[in-house]
């Protein structure tokens, strides 16, 4: 029997539990949702609106209103970020139609030749020019925002802000060993996100 293969289905159990906690009006779940997804959605919208901060806020506000109404319909078939991004995309289109202005739409990951060119020129002895660097930065940030749970934050705290494992553990209220293990998972998730998007064969 021949199989047509989709990407392997991923369980989004933690996202489902978070959504259920919100439905039950549990404050930690609501707080966690706001901490994780408000900044991501804001950047998601901002990036696609040519840095129109006011427009991005309107779009995110409307997205969150819809998310609040529909959180009970989230079934964990995709990540919560994917689910929110779908709502946000529709709101972006509506916003553009309403304001009758053409916005810069950043087609992240859609332009494979550009990505390939960037990956080819990423070596230290072949420095990127300004445009390429900007595109690469945008991609790295977008991948961080797509990672599940707080993986993107953990990577940012560790490698960009230079926080120690202990400092991260205090932020998250977790033990240092748990943070180390989470950091390893976050690195793996980051690599996997690139490989999944571009179907690269990372070892």
């Amino acid at each position: 029997m021949k199989l047509l293969r989709f990407r392997t289905e991923q369980p989004y159990e933690e996202d489902k539990q978070l959504a259920k906690g919100m439905l039950r009006n549990e404050e930690p779940a609501i707080r966690e949702f706001m901490d994780i997804y408000f900044p991501r959605l804001y950047r998601f919208a901002l990036m696609r609106m040519g840095d129109d901060a006011s427009g991005a806020e309107d779009v995110v506000q409307q997205t969150l209103v819809i998310a609040a109404r529909k959180i009970g319909t989230y079934r964990g078939e995709a990540s919560l970020m994917t689910w929110l991004a779908q709502i946000c995309r529709r709101e972006l289109i509506r916003h553009v139609q309403k304001t009758e202005r053409r916005r810069k739409v950043v087609a992240l990951f859609d332009d494979e030749p550009l990505f390939d060119a960037l990956m080819e020129t990423i070596d230290d002895d072949n420095p990127l020019d300004l445009t390429e660097r900007t595109e690469l930065i945008t991609m790295v940030h977008a991948v961080l925002d797509q990672l599940p749970n707080r993986n993107g934050d953990i990577l940012e705290w560790k490698y960009i802000d230079g926080l120690s494992i202990r400092e991260i553990s205090e932020k998250l209220g977790m033990g240092t060993e748990a943070v180390q293990s989470q950091l390893a998972r976050a690195r793996r998730a980051f690599k996997q996100a690139f490989s999944e998007v571009h179907q690269l064969n990372y070892s």
Partner: protein
């Protein structure tokens, strides 16, 4: 395609090179938090009200059932008539004179009025396994568990899709439109109402159309591929309508969710055909054993087809002149 490994050093290098992500300004976060919490609170109240009212209605129904036990055993579910399976865009319901947004998962009580703005919505009635879809700018109310009054706009009824039984085994559903009633006989059909006329289009099967108790058509039914128009209860015209006519396309966008994992490719293509009205023309032999592995994430038939095609060895193109989706080898 680049085939380059990213090791831990490269991850670190990429992250340090990229720097911090844009933070959300505090004042923006505060404003978003206020509106989000307010909406979440309203939503939770709405859900809890729905549950309370449903429980109250069922309690009342028990009393009714006691009184009517010799007449009807089905009265116990009188008040709960349908649940919303999918919503797209702006849809409202009027409930106890209170207007609110209607979303998937909500239940519909007898007498509720459902109004679509720019959005559309689909329901699963309690009394049958029909799939009911309401187009944008339409309004209906359930006057009986199996009778819907179409006040304006367009409604689409599908008596079943792959894996479900069709036709005679379904409970009948009646659509009332300004004195005209339309009943299905195992079919996919659409009823529209505007200021001047009523239109009934049949995609598959047959419907019976009555006006004030009398059959409008001498043979009592309207067959598949036919569209008939009435004005003041009188037949104006009957003409053909293709199963893939653009007037059906809004309904295809509300196709019921299906689980594609392990689904035979040929079954999936048949489902696409049923939902879109296009026939499938194969220019490649598909083995009946070929199955799809994984679930589609999109929620309408055409997008689902696109998704499946991207991971298959086939391509599909639409031939509108033939009313067909042509499936060919990808190479």
């Amino acid at each position: 395609m680049t085939d380059r490994n990213i090791d831990d050093n490269r991850v670190e290098q990429l992250l340090q090179g990229a720097g911090r992500r844009t933070p959300i300004p505090e004042e923006v976060r505060d404003r978003l938090e206020t509106s989000f919490l307010s909406e979440l609170n309203k939503s939770q109240q709405r859900n809890s009200r729905t549950r309370v009212v449903t429980a109250g209605s069922l309690a009342a129904s028990v009393l009714v059932a006691v009184v009517l036990v010799f007449n009807s055993g089905s009265e116990q579910t009188r008040d709960l008539v349908a649940s919303v399976t999918k919503d797209r865009g702006e849809v409202n319901w009027t409930y106890d004179n209170d207007l609110g947004p209607l979303t998937a998962g909500n239940t519909i009580q007898l007498g509720d009025v459902i109004t679509t703005g720019t959005g559309s919505v689909s329901f699963a009635p309690v009394a049958s396994s029909l799939d009911i879809r309401l187009a944008a700018r339409s309004e209906i109310s359930f006057v009986e568990p199996t009778t819907i009054s179409l006040n304006q706009g367009t409604i689409y009824i599908d008596s079943g899709y792959i894996g479900s039984k069709k036709g005679g085994e379904q409970s009948p559903l009646k659509i009332l439109v300004n004195g005209v009633s339309v009943e299905h006989i195992g079919t996919q059909y659409m009823v529209s109402r505007n200021e001047h006329q009523i239109e009934v289009a049949v995609r598959e099967g047959e419907v019976r159309i009555d006006h004030e108790g009398a059959s409008v058509r001498s043979f009592g039914g309207l067959g598949h591929g036919e569209l008939t128009q009435f004005s003041d209860g009188r037949l104006v015209t009957t003409k053909p309508i293709a199963t893939h006519d653009s007037r059906w396309s809004w309904a295809a966008e509300l196709s019921p969710a299906i689980e594609t994992n392990e689904m035979p490719v040929l079954d999936f293509m048949n489902w696409v055909s049923e939902q879109t009205g296009y026939s499938i023309v194969y220019r490649v032999e598909i083995d009946p054993g070929d199955r799809i592995s994984g679930s589609v994430l999109t929620d309408d038939a055409m997008s689902a087809l696109d998704e499946v095609m991207t991971i298959s060895e086939y391509i599909s193109e639409i031939d509108n002149a033939r009313g067909a989706i042509i499936v060919s080898p990808a190479s």
